[in-house]
């Protein structure tokens, strides 16, 4: 009896990996999915927390894709291992702080390790030649294959015919003629293939699914690195960069002011890690203080700013509480900061 071959697919939750899996399933291969959680995935945090996204379905797209395809999905926490990729990328960063080439290499390398441990035959990804400016260029795709150790076990079904033959094709596990030759940034071939497969609903995240490609997020991350003795980070640090308005009052002092009820509620969970400020005379935002006040002026500025983002912003005075992370509290009454007095240089 002919042995059923097994492939593991890197599943991001987007259309390309969904199509890549389907193309391979159509050739009788058993496919399972693997999804790496780096901490920088766009979905999840923000949508889960922010009330303004309440109309968006709170679904994990990788799980959803796996369910549509009828495949198992293994979600792997790589937050700690990923730090080295982000902090020391051999191939550098893209437009923002996105180490895409190192990232893709890392993920394929992890998949190589996974197929060895689970007795799978090869790896598939939804990559397309020329689709992305860093990791999906004709010159860089072989780099990923080589440096990851994936070599000819790495199949990119959507553009395989643009690339050298892989082992599964040579061995006859896959029919090269039934793989595709997509290239470039156009999405039309993918849309057509999706229609052919009957996929009507799929995620199309603008700019990819990684916060590191987002300019605003990159600015906040670089600010954090610049103002700390070390660039090392914890998961809480990178989640907090997605929350609230950020004001850098001094190299040692940053305020994070919640933008809405959902964020305020989420940030409440950090009150025992950070000093916090919240209005008591009016409803308003919670502020987490990342750092310390070294002068009374800084404390007054912080209080006035938080008052400004409360519903007492037009009142003569607002009463606020400063709560230390150990739970001790002190009350203050202050006039909200006038918008023209907010130093633009504070805003990150």
């Amino acid at each position: 009896m002919k042995q059923k071959r097994k492939a593991v697919a890197l599943i991001s939750g987007g259309l390309d990996s969904m199509l890549a899996v389907k193309v391979i399933q159509e050739q009788g291969i058993l496919v399972e999915g693997i999804n790496f959680f780096t901490g920088f995935c766009v979905e999840g945090h923000t949508h889960a927390v922010r009330k303004k996204h309440k109309d968006k379905q709170k679904r994990n797209n990788a799980l959803w894709v796996a369910e549509q395809l009828g495949i198992k999905l293994h979600i792997v926490d790589v937050v700690d291992e990923y730090k080295d990729i982000l902090l020391n990328p051999v191939h550098g960063y893209g437009k923002n702080v996105n180490p895409c080439l190192d990232c893709k290499t890392f993920m394929v390398k992890k998949a190589v390790q996974w197929i060895k441990e689970h007795d799978f035959d090869f790896i598939i990804t939804g990559e397309v030649v020329g689709q992305r400016p860093m990791s999906q260029r004709r010159e860089t795709m072989p780099v990923v294959a080589k440096e990851s150790g994936g070599d000819d076990l790495l199949v990119r079904p959507l553009c395989a015919r643009q690339l050298p033959e892989t082992l599964p094709e040579r061995e006859g596990w896959l029919d090269r003629d039934r793989l595709y030759d997509f290239s470039g940034r156009t999405r039309k071939p993918q849309m057509a293939l999706a229609q052919q497969f009957g996929f009507k609903d799929y995620a199309q995240p603008a700019g990819g699914c990684c916060m590191l490609t987002d300019e605003n997020y990159a600015i906040k991350l670089q600010d954090m690195w610049h103002n700390r003795p070390s660039r090392n980070y914890e998961l809480d640090d990178i989640i907090m960069l997605k929350m609230g308005r950020h004001f850098r009052l001094a190299p040692y002092l940053k305020l994070i002011i919640g933008r809405e009820e959902g964020e305020n509620r989420f940030m409440q969970g950090y009150k025992n890690q950070f000093m916090s400020i919240f209005p008591t005379s009016h409803p308003g935002a919670l502020c987490l203080v990342d750092g310390e006040f070294k002068t009374d002026q800084e404390k007054q500025q912080a209080l006035a700013l938080v008052a400004r983002y409360s519903q007492g912003k037009n009142a003569a005075q607002v009463t606020l509480t400063i709560r230390q992370s150990d739970g001790t509290e002190q009350n203050f009454t202050i006039a909200p900061m006038a918008p023209e007095n907010i130093n633009r240089e504070w805003i990150i």
């Binding site: 999804n35 959680f37 995935c41 999840g44 945090h45 949508h47 889960a48 927390v49 379905q57 709170k58 679904r59 994990n60 990788a62 799980l63 959803w64 796996a66 369910e67 495949i71 198992k72 999905l73 293994h74 979600i75 792997v76 926490d77 989640i239 509620r265 969970g269």
Partner: protein, 79 residues
């Protein structure tokens, strides 16, 4: 078949971490064991059942109390 009860505290974690914590716990357990996952991220209401459907496990109960979502699932490692 085993029938032990296990607990996963995924409070304050945002998806997909509660799913990962549940997945890692389930990997260590036997068919028939039950896992109670407590989370504060409403995303788990969609994600943990989806993960269970994909991987063949069964969600027995989902309840909410005091801003926490408590999901009980039954492990099934059968192919």
């Amino acid at each position: 078949m085993s029938n032990e009860l296990h607990y996963v505290d995924a409070r304050r974690l945002l998806c997909p971490l509660p799913v990962i914590r549940a997945q890692d716990a389930v990997a260590q357990l036997k068919t028939g064991d039950k896992v109670v996952v407590t989370s504060t991220d409403p995303g788990v209401k969609a994600d943990i059942p989806a993960w269970c459907r994909i991987n063949g496990h069964e969600v027995i109960d989902i309840k909410e109390q005091d801003n926490e979502i408590i999901i009980t699932l039954c492990v099934n490692h059968k192919e």
